[in-house]
Symmetry: C2
Subunit: 232 residues, 2 copies
DNA sequence: GTCTCCGAAATGGTCTGATGACTTACGCTT
DNA sequence: AAGCGTAAGTCATCAGACCATTTCGGAGAC
């Protein structure tokens, strides 16, 4: 087995076996090199690999530690790779977001939390009164994130955040011919979601969220039209 | 900015800017070092980071390449980290799997594919006739994977595969007191899913899949009971 | 006695140079 | 024209040195 792979397997084994739990500190690098039988370069490359995946963290001058191994934190590391995925792939990811966010929105609606509806209304007020693309993107993220957080599953929130962050790069809301129509449709969608949450109607909430994101998918598809199949 | 971070940002920028598309080859390491202004060690650590995330691939003796940037391939890289997540986190992940797989199962049921039902039936016949834990796990994965694949979204398939792989480590199906009851319940759940697909009933398929995975969640919770809150 | 500050030790971060291993492609032989 | 061997290109690994940051204990001031 290659040196770096050997180091990688060894480090993972130390965690998987329970020898080192979340937050635990690894031995110093020279000691690990000796233990794993690889050079420091190879060990460090293995450490970087697991670091990129959110499994371990190196702190300069302090040591190397096992991360909290929290699913949400690990998923948020995805953004480094997801942000590089081409449009075709983003459309598949948006289907994931649509399904998950419909679920989370329904869960949020099922909760008895009057404060949530208030906060969401405040966000929408600000969102509807701006035409700045960056501001729109930021407030839209805040709105959906607040709902997912209320849904109660931080993993779902992390996943939808990552996917939304990727979609945001396409900047649907650039001033252009369709800007007004798109903005109006988007605002209406948000209000429908809020209404379902306010009336505590999970089914309506799921439908509204699903439709809202499906609309986003349509806009993104329009940015790069797929070749139409030839009809016989 | 730290050297490795500088290299990481530079490499990502080369892809994000479109300078290098999927499958493209990077310049040789010495050239990249010069271009990015870092030493070879730092560059290689950055390359390893992006390699762990499935964004680039180094081939010994050949060169370093941008990966296909396929969402499914990138997500499957996460098994390296997901497999280390503790049980509490796995339960949150299983909720994601439940929602996504219910969706995919409904989509599979909506398709007109008689061959699918046949293949699934064959898998279940084999699954029901074995009591070997490894065999059960393998056939169960094959069954669910076939359904998700038929669902048509490879990203959903990749995600559910990763999560299922993690849950499989807990080996619910070890021979024990409850083995027979658990096995019977599981087999029945699979048959209900297959029936919904055979009769092309998406709603029933989603319900059956959701219930089947919810059952798995209950079994996993039983493995490590959560502390009950004290009642006043 | 307590607090502050400084410095030494511990530890990860970076660079350099050399060598090994694998892949690829070219040119030679048959 | 096909097969083969060699050489060039490229990544993989190792070793050693030095830098940057954190941490902690001890010396000194109050």
């Amino acid at each position: 087995m290659a040196a770096t792979d050997k180091a990688l397997a060894g480090l993972r084994q130390m965690i998987a076996s329970g020898e080192l739990g979340p937050g635990a500190k690894f031995p110093p690098e020279p000691e690990l090199c000796d233990h794993l039988g690889v050079s420091r370069s190879s060990l460090r490359e293995a450490v970087r690999s697991l670091g990129a995946l959110g499994v371990i963290e190196s702190r300069h001058g302090s040591g190397t530690y096992v991360s909290a191994l929290d699913p949400a934190a690990i998923i948020s590391r995805f953004s480094l790779s997801v942000e590089l995925i081409p449009l075709e792939g983003v459309l598949e990811l948006l289907e994931v977001r649509r399904v998950l966010e419909a679920h989370a929105t329904a869960a949020a609606a099922a909760r008895q939390d009057p404060e949530l509806a208030e906060r969401l209304a405040t966000i929408l007020d600000r969102l509807e009164s701006t035409t700045d693309a960056t501001q729109i993107q930021h407030l839209d993220a805040e709105f959906h994130n607040a709902i997912c957080t209320a849904g109660g599953n931080s993993t779902v929130t992390a996943l939808t955040d990552v996917i939304r962050g990727r979609g945001g790069h396409y900047r649907i809301f650039e001033p252009g011919a369709d800007f007004d129509a798109i903005k109006r449709t988007s605002d209406r969608g948000h209000r429908e979601i809020l209404a379902a949450i306010t009336t505590r109607d999970p089914a309506a909430a799921a439908t509204a969220a699903s439709a809202h994101i499906a609309q986003t998918e349509l806009w993104l598809r329009a940015l790069r039209p797929v070749p139409q199949p030839e009809l016989p």
